[in-house]
Amino acid sequence: MTENIRSFPGTPLSEQDFEEGKILFNYDELNGKFSWDTGIAIGSYLAGLKNGVILGSRCSTCRKTVVPPRTVCEWCFRPMQEYVPLHDTGTVNTFSLCYVTWDMKRLTDPQIPAVIEIDGASPLHGIMHLLKEVDPQKVHIGMRVKAVWKSAEERTGAITDIQYFKPVKEV
């Protein structure tokens, strides 16, 4: 049918149409405010962060240690009741050098988000966080990193209690 029909419907607009006032539009801002309960598992995770510890949870049936902790094992659907403290070191599983913000503003120095496999959790189990104190060109997958914490007084029980991860010397 596309061979028979050359003109498909739809009217594209350009920036110019708006500048010249050819198009009427209605602008509004929608503001939603939320207060999220942290729940059982993430509540424990945040309490751990406040104390300077990354907590995981362990399934005794699947013998998996996951992070962040959760109340149910996704594999066997049994409760995960055992919380285990993990190390605050890990390995970069993957990373990006990001030169734009969420609203498409440009950055000169990139943000470096990474998935970090946390030591003590099962293989390939990590969290997303940021890397700093590192030359962007030298970041690599497999790099060893360590959490840089806020001071005990400043910690509030949030993921940002870990300010970022930085490289540790590879031996």
């Binding site: 498909f8 419907p9 993957t94 990001c98 498409m104 988000p113 993921i159």
Partner: protein, 388 residues
């Protein structure tokens, strides 16, 4: 389980554009009318309507399914909107398929619409709330992060170069130059153009990404006895599959989309396909980013792990190759109005298998094609196999 055979008998779509003058309802109506006219039906012949559209936040309208219902011809009919993130466009025809296969309805209309330009200033921000509010959002993420992280993991694990990945973008955008609805078709684009485009979130550059778009697509599904009366060239839905992986996306290896494999195996089993590489003649994998097409070809068992770039290097994936990939131009070339983009792939297979794809026609009278979409927090795979 006895299921009835289901055919696609008509399809229609709007142009995919950066910003459409039409409202979401109007776009839906334009595509729907074209789909009905293509098989010479009227709304009276339609027994139920399935609507696919992605997050309400694009439009700032809650319960978007209900809002779109008049444009989709849904009034006083059984109607439901389905939504599985970016996977919606290939899930909604599956929803339509089980409406008909089950024996509940004989003729069903399937509509997918997206108007991303409503979101101001850029639709990317509408995706921010897919990240976990407590453990991820305080870090200030943006949507590009997850693609960049996945792409880097994929490239580094298999030692795939940026150049090999850029070939995907080039081929899809060149293919799209023959699509009358395409937003970013470009017959002259080169690998250098992609590699020299602005770095957004390394390894993702501007031309690695599909554009924000507005558009709508509609298809008509019919049971066998109706389809055979209405057309000499029904295109059968031979297999469907869908599958979801964990939302704890940092707890699994991003290098391989296992959920796409499971969805594909479900569809291959239903279609009786034993050797996908030989039995699939056209592939329309989901390609919002160029590396995603490669990732998905591997998940669909159409390439060995880490070997998908070879299909583009040796010409297998070209429009006149042994297994053309995205002859439509894909999301990279035609555009990416989320749900509509997935259904565009179904419409493309419909036109290709009927030999009606015009300038985009794949030679050699292809008999069978596969379309796939992907979405949510990198966790859902939806697959449809069509044949004639």
């Amino acid at each position: 389980m006895t299921m009835r055979k289901v055919a696609v008998i008509g399809a229609g779509m709007t142009k995919f554009v950066r910003r459409a003058q039409e409202t979401p309802k109007e776009l839906s109506w334009l595509a729907t009318r074209m789909a009905l006219e293509s098989c010479e039906l009227t709304l009276d012949d339609i027994e139920a309507v399935c609507m696919g559209t992605a997050p309400d936040s694009f439009d700032g309208i809650h319960m978007k399914g209900e809002y779109l219902s008049d444009g989709a011809g849904a009034w006083r009919k059984p109607y439901m909107r389905s939504y599985v993130g970016g996977g919606t466009g290939v899930f909604v025809p599956i929803q339509g398929w089980y409406h008909v296969a089950s024996g509940m309805f004989d003729v069903v209309l399937v509509v997918a619409e997206e108007k991303m330009s409503n979101f101001y200033p850029h639709a990317q921000a509408a995706f921010l709330t897919i990240f976990d509010h407590t453990t991820e959002r305080p870090l200030g993420p943006n949507l590009l992060w997850i693609f960049a992280l996945e792409m880097n993991r994929y490239m580094t694990t298999y030692g795939i170069s940026k150049e090999d990945i850029a070939r995907v973008s080039v081929q899809h955008k060149r293919n799209a130059a023959n699509h009358p609805c395409a937003l970013l078709g470009d017959p002259d684009i080169t690998v250098e153009d992609v590699l020299n485009s602005e770095v957004l979130a390394y390894p993702v550059q501007r031309y690695d990404v599909s554009p924000v778009s507005d558009g709508a697509v509609a298809i008509v599904l019919a049971a066998e006895h109706v389809a055979k009366r209405l057309t000499d060239k029904p295109v059968w839905v031979e297999g469907v599959g869908w599958n979801l992986d964990t939302a704890h996306w940092t707890n699994r290896d991003l290098v391989y989309p296992r959920y796409v494999e499971y969805a594909a195996r479900m569809a291959y089993d239903m279609a009786g396909i034993k050797e996908p590489k030989k039995e699939i003649h056209i592939a329309e994998p989901y390609d919002p980013f160029d590396y995603k097409a490669l990732h998905h070809l591997e998940g669909l068992q159409l390439a060995e792990r880490g070997q998908a770039p070879q299909l583009y290097i040796d010409g297998t994936a070209a429009r006149d190759g042994n297994m053309p990939v995205c002859p439509s131009g894909g999301l990279l070339g035609v555009g990416n109005p989320i749900a509509a983009a997935g259904l565009m792939k179904i419409a493309e297979l419909f036109w290709q298998l009927r030999g009606e794809a015009g300038d985009r026609q794949v030679p050699g009278q292809p008999r069978r094609g596969i379309a796939q979409a992907w979405g949510d927090l990198m966790q859902v795979g939806t697959v449809v196999i069509m044949g004639r």
